[in-house]
């Protein structure tokens, strides 16, 4: 019940939370276009080809090093296996005594040395 004069008709107070919600809902409902400009893929491919042509020497060096890792590891393994198994042979020690004798003899008689 109202008495006397009508209160001044005012616009509802702006609710910022509601406004934010409404704006986001509208933005969601209206996604941007996914149109691709004409011949865009040709432009990108030209750029990509130019990237490929401009060779970076450091990159080439790094790539070569990386490629060399596997053969080097394989060579290391082969040498390790060979040194373990190869030294197992008893005749491998034959020359050691003679070498030791020659070295010790040269120390004992320095005037007879070279």
């Amino acid at each position: 019940m109202r008495d006397g004069c009508e209160p001044e008709k005012r616009a509802p107070l702006m609710n910022v939370t509601d406004l934010q919600k409404k704006l986001i809902e509208s933005a969601r409902a209206c996604p941007p276009s996914d149109r691709v400009p004409y011949a865009f893929e040709h432009r990108v491919m030209a750029h990509v080809r130019s990237l490929r042509q401009s060779v970076d020497p450091v990159q080439i060096w790094a790539r070569s090093l990386m490629q060399a890792v596997l053969p080097c590891c394989a060579l290391l393994l082969m040498v390790a296996v060979w040194s373990w198994t190869g030294n197992e042979r008893p005749d491998a020690y034959e020359g050691v005594d003679e070498l030791e004798l020659a070295v010790v003899d040269s120390i004992d008689n320095p005037e007879e040395g070279w």
Binding site: V16, L23, I24, C30, V44, M45, V48, L51
Partner: protein, 202 residues
């Protein structure tokens, strides 16, 4: 528009893995079907962050350039599209950081349509969907005056409706950091809206 040639149709039907392996083996031409396949999504994403069409094109080209250079780092355990979209979001974020505008904009350059939208909302408490485009531009204008991190969070969380976990995976930020930034971004947006209202209606 020209009709796609049968060879092109065949190329575009090939799986991503096959095309990427060929590119990595030195056949650069196999990169083109990937560009044709994913450019529409990249353009839609870039248009959320940049307003000028030349800027949008530059962003998408930058994404493809990065994708080509880092193609060897794609492990194949996740779809190529996800890897590419993550790269796109990072490129857009870099763009926002480089092109940070003066954030003291007084919103005097609001267009007639945007003003009408606000007026309708003010008087009716609602706004018609047919003017959604004006609302979208208004949101973009408000976001462009916010910090790059806030723009990114609002776009991903509120407009693209991604979860905190997804945003964390895309941006590389921790989950608590995403939550804190989301809280700050919402507050920042409200502050900007209050300022518009104050400038326009008080």
């Amino acid at each position: 528009m020209t009709e796609p040639r049968p060879a092109d149709a065949l190329e575009s039907a090939r799986p991503d893995v096959e095309l990427i392996t060929e590119v990595l083996n030195g056949n650069v031409e196999s990169f083109e079907p990937l560009i044709q396949r994913y450019s529409p999504r990249l353009f839609a994403t870039a248009r959320r962050y940049a307003r000028r069409e030349t800027e949008v094109e530059d962003i998408v080209q930058e994404v493809w350039s990065k994708a080509f250079q880092k193609l060897g780092t794609w492990r194949g355990d996740a779809p190529f599209e996800h890897w590419l979209m993550r790269m796109a979001v990072h490129t857009c974020y870099d763009f926002l950081r480089v092109h940070q505008r003066n954030r003291e904009d007084n919103f005097s350059d609001i267009t007639r349509e945007e003003e009408d939208w606000l007026e309708r909302f003010k008087s009716e408490g609602d706004a018609r969907q047919d003017s959604a485009d004006a609302a979208r531009l208004l949101v973009q204008r408000i976001l462009s005056d916010m910090s790059p991190a806030s723009q990114l969070i609002i776009t991903l969380l509120e407009i693209e409706d991604k979860s905190i976990k997804e945003i964390s995976a895309i941006t590389g930020w921790s989950t608590p950091l995403v939550k804190v930034r989301a809280f700050r971004a919402r507050a920042e947006m409200k502050k900007r809206l209050r300022r518009i209202m104050k400038d326009k209606y008080l």
